[in-house]
Symmetry: C2
Subunit: 303 residues, 2 copies
Amino acid sequence: MTQPQRVESLSHAQRERLAYIDFRLYFFGEIGRPDLIERFGVAPAGATRDLALYREIAPQNITFDGSHKIYRIGQAFSPLFNHAPQRVLSALALGFGDGVNGPNQSLQPLLPCESPTALSNPRMDVLAPVCRAIHAKRPVAIRYHSMSSGESERVIVPFALVDTGLRWHVRAFDRKSGEFRDFVVTRIEAPTLLDEEPQAFERPENDIQWTRIVELELVPHPRLEHPEIIRMDYGMTDGSIRMRVRAAVAGYMLLRWSVDCSPDHRLKEEQYRLWLSDPLALYGVENAKLAPGYQAPSSPKKR
Amino acid sequence: MTQPQRVESLSHAQRERLAYIDFRLYFFGEIGRPDLIERFGVAPAGATRDLALYREIAPQNITFDGSHKIYRIGQAFSPLFNHAPQRVLSALALGFGDGVNGPNQSLQPLLPCESPTALSNPRMDVLAPVCRAIHAKRPVAIRYHSMSSGESERVIVPFALVDTGLRWHVRAFDRKSGEFRDFVVTRIEAPTLLDEEPQAFERPENDIQWTRIVELELVPHPRLEHPEIIRMDYGMTDGSIRMRVRAAVAGYMLLRWSVDCSPDHRLKEEQYRLWLSDPLALYGVENAKLAPGYQAPSSPKKR
DNA sequence: GCATAATGTCATCAATTTGATGATGTGAGC
DNA sequence: GCTCACATCATCAAATTGATGACATTATGC
């Protein structure tokens, strides 16, 4: 039986433990019985069994260092599991464990790791009802604090979450203004689900900024002397990357990734390493006002 | 026996399944047997047992909707588990499951959710050896592509990862320049661990930009009409938030969070909603050149 | 209005997994 | 060189989980 087949035939819990062994060997180079015991709450004998099973499946991946009483990565290591980059980075920065955050399941980084500690976190008792409204496709009554109009009560019909990189928004139809808008989750209070069916025109398919997908071509910033390094950073094979994003979030993304969106690639600050090669792609994108260096064309004829 | 005690006494696997039920009720408002079967690979009868156990422990949290054959959140729901915001947001955006990303464990958002899809992901076969070097506190030989000096071979002694928000760096002592520096992970090739002990002066405690902690006081941007909304966003109780960050990463954080660091709060763009009330706190912080609006004082006496 | 199909609950028993224990082996420190 | 600490491994007991069939409930078609 080949290795992947063997792994497939194991129980879910067993696979998770083997994946953890695989992960620790790959990224830390070592794993001990206590690590398994702490992570999964198994007994010592169980940890021994798991390690023996891993060694049986992938003997070249693991060796036992008797003098330090620890298992180490083998010379010919090849990961048994597919470790998704996003998950790996999240685990390294935030620690392991979905769901159960008991006293043993710490929210600590696995390695010395500095990451932008979220300055602003939504309250779970606000986020949860909003998520339920999205899932159930129902309207929700909220109190909202708007920068322009202050505090107000309104009913919105939310359908998606948006992570702008700076904060979390909810995309929704707003019955007060009759438009689709973004609402900042931290500015919502007292959400109450309504038990009614939304109108047809309140549904996401009518949100033209949401359904419109813009294709943005990003290239290394022309001022840079070594464009090949930028190509390497972003894995560009043909000298550019194409982002396909919703018009409603394009500005957030361009700001988040520090993309110079000026037509004459005028921004000189160090963080602008990418340039939007065709700023006209943002024509009609309301959200583009956030894009660094973006200037709304003064007339549709402008070129 | 009180509820938390009951939960404590359960097995790890059982707690994880109950936490998932808790999560789905809280954030989706409903859970069905198929959801548990898909997530944990248990048999239908097992899912029934778990739901029955959850209902027994927290009857007010869950009701069965027979006509739709689904469990729904109870009127007096109160979460049994502590759902950490960072984890919740990550789960909503990236999906569930540590480690095992089999065919059933999709990397898909749990709700319609737009988040900044990482434009640049480190290669795992580069990141992994670097992590092993950090964990083992050993030097690593790399080929590096630098913006200033092009391609070179060098030996570095890494000790931490840094997520700048834009990309991932490694903080390390660089034997080539004899200084502590940041290395962009995507610009590293062919890392090879060396089996030698680093010198004393190569250790993190000698990296003064790393060990120095700067305290930054952020306040709502003075140009804004409704500072109370910003206070609400960031949970400010006394009108400001204090960030304590390493000098080596201060610039990344201030850029990432769009903090206006000009002494005269001159930046007008919409994204600048916070102002660094004492830009002098950045004195001597090399990394501060990335901070929006920051001007290095021309002399130590400048005020 | 009633039969039928589909789906879920629940009790039961079998199969599997896991925990506990003691014998044994190995390396570090005195 | 002895002892201690800690790991492996075999073994058996305990707990968990999977499979099955009887029964309940609801939507659907006739």
